[in-house]
């Protein structure tokens, strides 16, 4: 191969030519992209649209399967579907106001019969599933139908656990379908406890008093759906939401973007006229009494990872970003608890607010070592450096809790300080020495089941926990399982401790929190049993709100803390970063991180100035 022949030379010229051509095309294409990007930015900034994101893949928007306020589907569903009651947008602590209902429910003296009046001006949005293509008026029968969908076992929804054993006849209805699943006519079988007295009158009969019912009726899963839509779309109903809310689905590109637009048939609620003392000063009452919604379109982009989300927020492609507590550990562009100054200059605002999410490390009270020794449990509580965890993984955004009842609940006692939530390894070592002296032998290695999967951050969390335990002379082995598997793993081979995704209050009632420690129906995860606590739980769960109930709830908290079936670990704050062109934004624990769009307003002029002016 020493001398080159003519064909080889020709091949070389062809190759060079081809490369030149490709380069020219690439440059041309890049230039084109650039000018197009500039126009797109102007369009983006000047449209009356809110741009936000969702993090978990959404495959369907069906109220019975979207989950709670932490889920992505929920954030979209609440703009389309509406339940009977909703939480007041501005008032804290959270109070209910009517949504589809005309006013608050009437309860009989025995607490068993509830009467609800519906508004008569609520219409489903126009959709092909209705006979004329026009949405019809919502009646009491629609709500009852939506309720029965949750009970229908063929729909396999976890939401059933909310209603089970509470409504007269609903459990029998469920069982009848399960016995004969192919019989479609059973869907229409009457349920004694759910009656439509008139098109706007619902009567609910309960098996036992249930003062939390209105809060349950504010859950997204109990939103009203149209029977015509469910039957018309069948399997694809989850892709064709037909609701009553301020927005309707405009476009859905799977795993890319979901666009909602203003629903023309929306009845038009008005912006709340009263709020908390500081709200007027924060310009939150400027729109008081005006007809909602204010924004034409909502865009939800699918961005499952944290880093690109931040990047897009910085570029102004997103108007806001909520930093969840719990499973995601977002790296927030902050120094301490403040945004970096250059971000503030670009118009970003950071809000931190207490979420309804607490993380505990659970003890297995059936475990021979842990369960039998209160001192050991106390020592572990002291061995944990909550601040270090908070700093390393959460940029210090959270608070170290000092009580079991989180601040978001009205039963929270700000004066209650649990002394074992401090970090005191010396005291922990002293306690452990005592335990070992009593046992007459060292404490054997403990096992912990850690939820969150073996990947990424949770593995580091586990290694940090190992370090804390080492520090006080305890040895611990950690088994990593997926977040949903903790309970199953504890059943298969019970460990001494478990660490799972934490606990979120479903609705602002202390009973939902205490049900985790109640041993009445079945078992709790801690295998915790305390008769005095159980008796109080049964009493408190049927009581309506009163100072006495608050007193009893605090008493229950003391009982749990005395026995310490869990280590109180962290109380999570949510953070929300948004641009100043987004108005009327007030963080709301029960509307998820991105809130409810009907209250929000966009100052498009400011957005154009900030985004395009910057170019």
């Amino acid at each position: 191969m020493s001398c080159e022949s003519a064909p080889t030379r020709r091949v070389r010229w062809i190759a060079i030519g081809a490369i030149m051509l490709l380069m020219t095309m690439l440059i041309g294409w890049l230039t084109m992209m650039r000018s197009e990007a500039g126009q797109a930015l102007r369009r983006h900034a000047s449209s009356n649209t809110i741009y936000s994101m969702y993090r978990d893949r959404i495959t369907g928007i069906d109220p019975i399967s979207v989950g709670g306020y932490g889920s992505s589907g929920f954030a979209i569903a609440i703009n389309i579907y509406e339940p009977l009651y909703q939480y007041h947008y501005l008032k804290r602590p959270y109070v209910l106001t009517p949504c589809l209902a005309a006013d608050m429910p009437q309860v009989s003296d025995d607490g068993l019969t509830w009467m609800i009046t519906l508004r008569d001006d609520v219409r489903f949005e126009d959709d092909a599933c209705f006979d004329s293509g026009k949405g019809r008026t919502v009646t009491a029968a629609d709500w009852i139908y939506s309720c029965k969908r949750i009970a229908d076992p063929r729909n396999a929804t976890a939401a059933w656990s909310l209603l089970a054993e509470h409504i007269v006849g609903l459990d029998d209805y469920r069982q009848a379908i399960k016995d004969d699943p192919t019989n479609q006519s059973l869907t229409d079988a009457p349920v004694e406890g759910l009656t439509a007295l008139s098109p706007t009158q619902i009567r609910i009969r309960l098996t036992r008093p249930w003062p939390q019912l209105p809060m349950v009726m504010a859950e997204a899963c109990l939103s009203v759906v149209a029977r015509e839509a469910v039957e018309h779309y069948g399997d694809q109903f989850m892709r064709h939401p037909v609701g009553t809310g301020p927005y309707r689905l405009k476009q859905w590109i799977t795993d890319v973007e979901i666009m909602l637009e203003r629903s023309p048939s929306y009845r038009g609620e008005t912006y709340p006229t009263e709020g908390e003392p500081g709200d007027r000063k924060a310009d939150l009452l400027d729109d008081a009494g005006r007809k909602m919604p204010f924004v034409d379109e909502l865009s939800f982009r699918f961005i499952p990872a944290a880093e690109p989300t931040w990047l897009m927020l910085m570029q102004g492609q997103l108007d806001m970003h909520g930093v969840p507590g719990g499973k995601q550990f977002d790296n927030v562009m902050t120094t301490g608890r403040q945004l970096q100054p250059d971000l503030v200059k670009h118009g970003l605002i950071l809000t931190r607010f207490p979420a309804v999410f607490t993380r505990w490390i659970g003890f297995n009270m059936n475990d021979p070592i842990i369960g039998s020794s209160l001192k050991l449990r106390q020592a572990i509580s002291l061995a944990i450096d909550r601040e270090e965890f908070n700093e390393i993984f959460l940029n210090g955004r959270n608070d170290v809790p000092t009580s079991l009842i989180p601040p978001v609940l009205k039963e929270h006692d700000p004066d209650y300080i649990d002394s074992f939530t401090r970090f005191d390894p010396d005291e922990a070592r002293r306690l452990i020495a005592k335990v070992e002296a009593e046992r007459g032998e060292p404490i054997p290695p403990l096992r912990m089941v850690l939820g969150g999967g073996g990947g990424g951050v949770f593995r580091q969390v586990g290694q940090l926990i190992t370090r804390w335990f080492d520090n006080v002379g305890l040895s611990i082995q950690i088994e990593y399982v997926s977040e949903n598997e903790v309970a199953a793993a504890m059943r298969r081979s019970p460990a001494s401790l478990f660490f799972d995704a934490g606990y979120g209050v479903r609705y602002p009632d202390v009973c939902d929190l205490f049900s985790h420690f109640y041993s009445g129906d079945g078992d709790n995860r801690y295998h915790y049993q305390n008769k005095a606590f159980d008796d109080l739980y049964r009493r408190v769960s049927t009581m309506t709100d009163s100072p006495q109930r608050t007193r009893l709830a605090r008493q229950m908290q003391q009982l749990v803390m005395n026995d310490r079936p869990c280590v109180i670990f962290l109380s999570y704050n949510w953070m929300s970063v948004r641009y100043d062109w987004l108005e009327n934004f007030k963080p709301h624990a029960f509307y998820g991180l991105h809130g409810m769009a009907k209250y929000l307003r966009v100052d498009t002029n400011l957005r154009v100035r900030r985004l395009v002016g910057k170019e």
């Binding site: 390393i392 999967g453 990947g455 990424g456 593995r459 190992t466 370090r467 950690i478």
Partner: protein, 301 residues
């Protein structure tokens, strides 16, 4: 080819190929590198080196300095120590997986080629079936299942599960190769001659066929190891690997989140460690093949 020639060639293969290997300057350097990795892995595996990898040695995400040669990670741990422990994880997975692959593959392959008949049919069916599931998918599925499996009350989670998942996927190639070779050799004249002079079939396999395919196993093993190192990294990265100790895959996973905050050192350390080891094993494998496989043409000078 006569009987004596075949046997001497088989027995002479090792020393001659070793000489070849050492004569290749690059291969010799790579051999030293692999030896260093092995030493580090043994030292870290027994806890003598970097047994205290989980300790905090400095501030969170400190850049490389004289004090912390490769910097620290988010928990303030030494990246260097984690890298050493990662070497132990990687090397043990690779060694176990290779052992499984070679022994299972050779055993089944030889059995299939030797017995033929229904044994052959069964083994061929087994490896076609396992082999028809795309490798990475099969490995992921196995690792996913084995993670929660336990044998005699011992959880397989961690290194055993990963090694098994890799081994149980990769034996197919070895098995197919050995089966083919055994069948091929059985039809050779020297084997027919051996049969004619009354050698038992077991002796034929052991004394005549195995030495002639043994070098193939060594080449196969060294070339496969590269894939195994990478497989371990991928599985660990996806959260299916060992969780109680560092691995290069988990280091890359952790570094992915640190890198956007400017902390590149953990990524560089883990990726560099994988790269150098893979390169070394790869070069050695190639050199071995050149030295041992008579089918490969002598290299042009």
């Amino acid at each position: 080819m006569t009987l004596s020639a075949a046997t001497t060639r088989g027995s002479m293969a090792m020393p001659r190929s070793l000489r070849h290997l050492l004569a290749d300057r690059w291969a010799a350097v790579m051999l030293v590198i692999v030896a260093i990795y092995l030493i580090i892995a043994c030292a870290a595996g027994t806890g003598w080196l970097a047994g205290n990898w989980n300790d905090r040695v400095g501030p969170s995400m400190a850049p490389p300095s004289m004090q912390h040669l490769l910097g620290t990670d988010r928990l303030g741990r030494s990246v260097l120590r984690k890298m050493f422990v990662g070497a132990a994880t990687s090397v043990s997975v690779t060694v176990i997986a290779t052992t499984i692959t070679i022994s299972v593959g050779a055993l089944l392959g030889a059995a299939a080629g030797y017995f033929r008949g229904w044994v052959d049919h069964m083994i061929v069916w087994l490896y076609t079936t396992v082999g028809s599931v795309p490798g990475l998918l099969m490995m992921l599925a196995l690792a996913f299942v084995l993670r929660d499996a336990s044998v005699l009350g011992m959880s397989l989670r961690g290194v055993p599960a990963v090694s098994l998942a890799i081994g149980a996927t990769a034996w197919v190639g070895t098995c197919r190769l050995i089966r083919g070779e055994v069948i091929k050799h059985q039809q050779r004249e020297y084997i027919q001659a051996a049969t004619a002079i009354g050698c038992s079939r077991a002796r034929i396999i052991y004394a005549h066929i195995l030495p002639n395919v043994g070098h193939l196993l060594i080449i196969k093993a060294s070339l496969m190891s590269v894939g195994f190192i990478n497989a371990e990294v991928t599985l660990s990265f996806l959260g299916l690997g060992p969780t109680d100790r560092p691995s290069w895959g988990t280091m890359i996973d952790e570094a992915r989140m640190e890198i956007s905050q400017g902390a590149w050192w953990q990524m560089a350390a883990a990726a560099g460690a994988v790269f150098i080891l893979c390169l070394a094993v790869h070069v050695i494998g190639d050199a071995l093949r050149d030295a041992m496989d008579p089918k490969v043409q002598p290299r042009q000078s």
